[in-house]
């Protein structure tokens, strides 16, 4: 079975898929690729099912060696990626025809990228998923981030990478490269929105926040105007999810990401809409974020529209494969 070796694994490279639905009641994070849309599109480009495992790379500085043929595609921030010395654009399927090195340089914008390889990875499914749960050390590759020298075996590819010559599989440009200069995250109001004073609500939507260095797969801490509540009572812990913007005791917001806890006790001022979660996953320390409010209806409409586009994209690729 073909495989990929991590000559340089980079700072936080993990195996992720679409996470572990069905286990949150047990306290297990949903987890999965922090931009699940990117992971799905990259998978489709290489003929995988949308829920195949991909590699999530943070900041870059990764060198991979392929010992057999396969197809690859990546989506994410502005990373310089080269296969055997030739540039590989994001959102395109590229064939690895012979043993070769894939070099992923340091990001020029955006924190993360997702790399799909045809066949996915031959790794055990733990609680319904191949995602790495770093906090609880299970899933993915030995429950941990990849290290220099690790090797992953590839699963069975959906198509014959030896004979297939079609290289014109590409995703729309705005799907392929997901880092933006100024990050505007669209939000709907959170369950405790009304508990914040008018000045806090205004500051939340009209001033920018800076990403602090405390950012990981559980969440991104921001600093900016102190957001005060009109009442200071403690709340019983309630369900939270990726996208929940909670405000810590110091009045600073935290955007929860995929590996967040299943329940949390901080007040929830807002919630990043599903279609903007990928953008939230691109935030790096020092980046500035602006929150913009949209209605619940608009958030649902955008989510539904994107799901529809994804279905059409999948159908279009299937037509080309047959």
């Amino acid at each position: 079975m073909g495989g990929v070796s991590f000559l340089r694994a980079g700072p936080l490279t993990t195996v992720q898929d679409l996470g572990r639905p069905g286990y949150r009641a047990l306290g297990v994070s949903l987890g999965g690729a922090l931009d699940s849309f990117a992971a799905q599109v990259a998978n489709l480009l290489v003929g995988n099912s949308v829920d195949a495992a991909v590699i999530e790379i943070v900041i870059g500085g990764v060198r991979l060696s392929f010992d057999d043929q396969c197809a690859l595609a990546w989506i994410g921030g502005d990373f310089p990626v080269q296969l055997a010395g030739a540039a590989v654009a994001p959102g395109r399927r590229v064939f690895v025809r012979q043993p070769a090195i894939l070099e992923i340089g340091l990001t020029r914008g955006g924190a993360r990228m997702w790399l799909a390889l045809s066949g996915g990875f031959d790794l055990p499914v733990v609680l319904g998923s191949r995602s790495t749960d770093l906090r609880s050390s299970f899933g993915g590759y030995k429950g941990r981030a990849l290290r220099d020298g690790d090797r992953l075996s590839l699963g069975q590819s959906a198509f014959d990478t030896r004979s297939d010559r079609s290289t014109n599989w590409a995703a729309p440009a705005d799907w392929a490269q997901t880092a933006t200069e100024r990050s505007i995250l669209r939000v709907v109001r959170g369950p405790e929105w009304d508990e914040f004073c008018g000045a806090a609500q205004e500051a939340f939507l009209q001033t920018s926040f800076t990403v602090s260095s405390q950012t990981d797969r559980m969440g991104t801490r921001l600093t900016g105007t102190e957001l005060q509540r009109t009442q200071g009572h403690e709340l019983p812990s309630e369900p939270v999810a990726a996208g929940t913007v909670q405000v810590a005791r110091d009045g600073q917001p935290i955007i929860l990401l995929g590996d967040c806890q299943t329940i949390g006790g901080y007040p929830k001022i807002a919630h990043v809409i599903t279609v903007d979660l990928g953008r939230a996953a691109q935030l790096q320390p020092e980046d500035r974020v602006i929150f913009a409010e949209v209605s619940q209806e608009e958030a649902t409409r955008l989510f539904a529209a994107r799901e529809k586009e994804l279905r059409f994209f999948r159908t279009a690729l299937q037509l080309r494969m047959s």
Partner: protein
């Protein structure tokens, strides 16, 4: 029961019910039985239940549907909660009970009295969270309530039995944590290899019983 149903983003709802454990679990059960479309997870918390959806849906319509379902079911007699009774062995040895002194000082008790008092409580699992299988327990004897540590530990050993304010819990996995540790259980509270990966479930009735260091070492998991 006046329920508050609020959106949590565009793919989840929080249903706020009662502060009573039994009623909150009954609510979670009814929501499960309602078989709403495209549900990914139903998550009971302390006084609320989260409903997560796997695909876009009209949350206003689902909210109306939930209200209708709960209204229909309100007439039905609620089955009383029949909790499973589970005994958790704990070794209160100094080596494991990293904060026993602190809790004892706060409660104005001798350390061995803290252990005794802790065992006298009858606890219930409110919900699981924080880490996989971590039980938030009700029922800590009031005297033992101890504020969380100012600086959380970066690594708390698996099995640590702990007190955080008026709550208590057990760390299933090695993880960071700011609660006061008063002992350790040899039981495994979370095991991904098992079909039911968590030892405990919301609603379970818990009692703690002291074991010696030797019993701890020889415990068959």
């Amino acid at each position: 029961m006046a329920l508050e149903i609020l959106p949590l983003g565009d793919a989840a709802l929080v249903v706020r019910g009662s502060n009573s454990l039994g009623k909150n679990l009954a609510l979670a059960h009814k929501l499960k039985a309602a078989r709403l479309h495209a549900v990914q997870d139903i998550v009971p918390a302390f006084a609320s239940v989260g409903i997560f959806f796997e695909s876009p849906c009209d949350l206003a319509a689902v909210t109306a549907e939930i209200r209708a379902v709960l209204k229909r079911r309100a007439a039905q007699k609620e089955k009383p909660l029949r909790p499973r009774k589970i005994e958790i062995p704990v070794c209160y040895d100094r080596e494991f009970a990293l904060d026993l002194e602190r809790v004892a000082r706060h409660a104005r008790l001798a350390p061995n009295e803290v252990a005794k008092c802790h065992q006298s409580g009858r606890y219930h699992v409110r919900c699981l969270g924080f880490t996989p299988g971590f039980p938030y327990l009700d029922g800590l004897p009031r005297r033992l309530a101890t504020p969380r540590r100012d600086t959380p530990r970066t690594s708390v050993p698996a099995g640590s039995v702990a007190i955080g304010g008026a709550q208590s819990g057990i760390y299933p996995l090695r993880s960071p944590g700011g609660w006061n540790i008063i002992g350790r259980t040899p039981l495994r509270l979370f095991d991904v290899a098992k079909e039911r990966p968590t030892l405990l479930r919301p609603g379970d009735e818990i009692r703690f019983c002291a074991i010696s260091r030797q019993e701890f070492e020889q415990w068959e998991v």
